[in-house]
């Protein structure tokens, strides 16, 4: 049993790959290797996305490199597809490890027609009905109170699911975070709150975010347990999350787990982190790579695949992604016709009218485009100037 409110993050594997503590590590080799593969997959996904971003196939990307220990440890501690998840935007590693097909995640990133969310949101706004992953809002901490409400519903309906809600360190400053955690606590709602503390909210370090010693200590304010775990140690994360999830499942109300980690890349493809943190600091955390740590442990245990095996593993992941991208590159974005779907359960008159006006416009544009392609003289960026004087309205 891990203790709450520890001063230092709970660890199971040292930087050198040695097991810490007396307790044996309960996970079987297959499970450890699965986690290893999931971490690699998350890492290589980042690598690939940075590439396709450069190619203009997606518009925006936020790496989770460095945070795989946290996300994959969590994924392996809950009942994927059964427990519900309200993730946040940096959770691509979590998504993949929960079993959301890479194809679906990529279609969302690329804004394609086959995205189950109809390409309505920016990259990183995960959603998967089949995997019980609830569509992300961009508004930081926006998912916290809904997660509380969902768990209240689960309790009311007598379901044995729990609700998992993730967020960054920055998110804990929002009023909605407070409102959500408190609501869950007061109602004894079964939420596993997970803070992926990567020590930055864009450029803002922890010291401009909070004065308390760590995020988990905030549990005191809500009368709920707070666990503090080393997010670079996937085994510790998995074990602590599992314990916390079990506590939550047992009906004791919400639990807060903070995993201390670091994002190695910039906040997003629109960021330049050299403005606000030193290269030395980044290097320090590169040296704390969660994948390397697990490799060292696996090596000691004699279950790490050899260089060729590891090579093959990576190659497998890379070609999986290649193949998916190959298919997705043939797809296009959604039709303008989908613009007015899903605003409501029905299509009220004002939206019918707006649909019709858009239809007139788009058909005219399509005609103009056809003309242009047929070799008619070039039009300026305002495609439909030919309508001037024709009075189509």
């Amino acid at each position: 049993m891990y203790k709450t409110f520890t001063e230092k993050p709970i660890q199971r594997i040292g930087e050198d790959g040695k097991r810490l503590g007396r307790q044996k590590i309960g996970l079987p080799p297959e499970k450890l290797l699965e986690m290893y593969r999931d971490m690699l997959r998350a890492r290589l996904f980042d690598e690939k996305l940075v590439l396709i971003l450069r190619q203009g196939k997606t518009s925006f990307y936020s790496q989770s490199t460095g945070m795989e220990g946290t996300q994959i440890g969590l994924a392996h501690a809950i009942r994927a597809g059964h427990d519900w998840v309200w993730p946040y935007y940096r959770d691509q590693g979590l998504m993949l490890a929960l079993g959301v097909p890479a194809r679906d995640v990529l279609a969302q990133f690329m804004g394609l027609e086959s995205d189950e969310s109809k390409a309505r949101q920016m990259p990183h706004h995960f959603s998967s009905r089949a995997h019980r992953v609830v569509s992300c809002s961009s508004s930081i901490a926006n998912q916290v109170a809904p997660a509380a409400g969902m768990a209240m519903a689960q309790k009311y309906l007598g379901l044995d699911e729990i609700t998992v809600c993730t967020f960054g360190d920055g998110a804990t400053s929002e009023g909605d975070w407070h409102a959500g955690v408190n609501m869950a606590a007061v109602n004894g709602a079964s939420v596993l709150f997970v803070c992926e503390n990567n020590q930055y909210a864009i450029s803002a370090g922890l010291e401009s975010q909070m004065k308390c010693k760590n995020v988990s200590s905030k549990g005191h304010a809500y009368g709920i347990p707070g666990y503090f775990v080393d997010g670079q140690d996937v085994v510790a994360v998995q074990e602590v999350m599992l314990q916390a999830a079990e506590e939550v499942r047992a009906g004791g109300g919400p639990v807060l787990v903070e995993a201390l980690t670091y994002r190695i890349g910039t906040h997003s493809s629109a960021d330049d982190d050299s403005k606000y943190r030193s290269r030395e600091e980044v290097q320090l955390w590169k040296n704390r790579d969660p994948i390397v740590r697990l490799e060292r442990y696996l090596e000691r245990e004699g279950i790490l695949p050899d260089a060729t095996g590891r090579q093959a593993l990576q190659q497998g992941i890379r070609s999986e992604l290649e193949q998916i991208l190959h298919q997705l590159n043939l797809e296009s974005g959604p039709s303008w016709r989908s613009m007015f779907e899903d605003v409501y359960s029905d299509l009220p008159v004002h939206l019918q009218e707006q649909y019709q006006s858009l239809e007139v416009e788009q058909l005219a544009l399509e005609r103009a485009e056809a003309l242009r392609r047929a070799g008619a003289r070039e039009r300026a960026e305002i495609h439909a100037t030919q309508l001037i004087g024709e009075g189509s309205y």
């Binding site: 009905r129 959500g180 899903d342 605003v343 409501y344 009220p348």
Partner: protein, 323 residues
């Protein structure tokens, strides 16, 4: 049976909770206290604390939790004690409730109702008098209702609870108990998007919703005494609103007065005015006029002076008639 507006709301809640176990009711003081206006009186006693309960004092907690419950299949009915107090939790409505269906491509929905007493005339000062409905009509994804009779309150609230969309249900608190009207004990609902005529005429259209309706009717009656016959139309729902009904009346009379008590600038009714003049430009006999609240915070001592009452509506009606 004859009921006042707030009793009709209580009845609608009771009937829906009996009908459907997924309907839950929560907010500040809605439990043992029965709500500060007593809209939920007796409901905790009948349905128990698992279905009717008090929340922490946080509108973000209330509205956010409602979203999560709705996503998991419940039919939450959340009360915000005064519509002025939606603001601390408004991001849950704007960024979650309003958008979750759209942003998930229809995979997730938030069928929930937010009931909230609204409007002026109760000496409530800045924070117990405002009429923020326009903000919600400007937020795609939300449906917006404001009844003005007990009959409509019951039918619209039951419809709201059954709809698969998030509905903001504004209750005109100043007429909660000011009159009674006939409310069938049977189960009925009123479809959104259909206005209803309170008086019929062909000289002028007076169009309003919510708390201003009794005064609109009074003015219509007063005019009728002078032989001027007005259509008095109650919109009942703002999103969607009854474009067809409004245009029918406006085309018939050629003279339109729009009445609401929210501040004038960017008032929802301006977009109704816009659509009328857009569609009926050559048929109007006078500009569309609006009576609305002043563009000041809602004052306490001058409550009655701020609020557009019968006199102000009447004067504006005369202006439209004599244009």
């Amino acid at each position: 049976m004859e009921l006042n507006l707030i009793s009709a709301i209580n009845l609608a809640l009771r009937e829906e909770m009996r009908r459907d176990e997924r309907v839950l009711l929560f907010g500040e003081d809605v439990g043992a206290r029965g709500g500060v206006f007593l809209a939920t009186e007796g409901l905790q006693a009948e349905f128990g604390k698992a279905r009717v309960f008090d929340t922490p004092l946080s509108e973000a907690s209330i509205l956010g939790a409602a979203v999560g419950m709705a996503v998991r299949g419940l039919r939450p009915v959340a009360e915000i004690q005064f519509s002025d107090y939606i603001f601390p939790g408004i991001d849950q409505l704007f960024s979650q409730a309003a958008k979750i269906r759209y942003r998930s491509g229809g995979n997730y929905t938030a069928p929930m109702v937010v009931r909230t007493p609204s409007g002026g005339g109760v000496r409530g000062g800045h924070h117990h008098s405002q009429s923020p409905e326009s903000l919600f009509t400007h937020t795609p994804g939300l449906k917006v209702v404001m009844p003005s009779t007990a009959y409509d309150a019951k039918g619209l609230l039951k419809e709201a609870i059954r709809l698969d969309d998030p509905v903001i249900f504004f209750e005109p608190k100043r007429i909660y108990r000011s009159f009674k009207d006939e409310v069938p004990e049977t189960d009925y609902t009123i479809a959104f998007g259909k206005a209803t005529l309170r008086l019929e005429g062909s000289d002028l259209s007076i169009i309003g919703y919510g708390g201003v309706m009794p005064d609109c009717v009074k003015v219509g009656q007063l005019l009728a005494e002078q032989g001027i016959m007005a259509d008095v139309l109650d919109l009942r729902t703002l999103v969607p609103w009854d474009l067809e009904g409004v245009l029918f009346s406006a085309a018939k009379t050629g003279r339109v007065l729009l009445v609401s008590e929210a501040p004038q600038t960017a008032n929802f009714m301006s977009s109704v005015a816009y659509r009328i003049q857009e569609e009926l430009f050559s048929q109007l006999l006078a500009p569309v006029l609006q009576v609305a609240g002043f563009d000041t915070p809602y004052p306490y001592a001058l409550d009655k002076t701020y609020l557009p009452g019968g006199n102000r509506i009447l004067q504006a009606a005369l202006r439209v008639l004599h244009y």
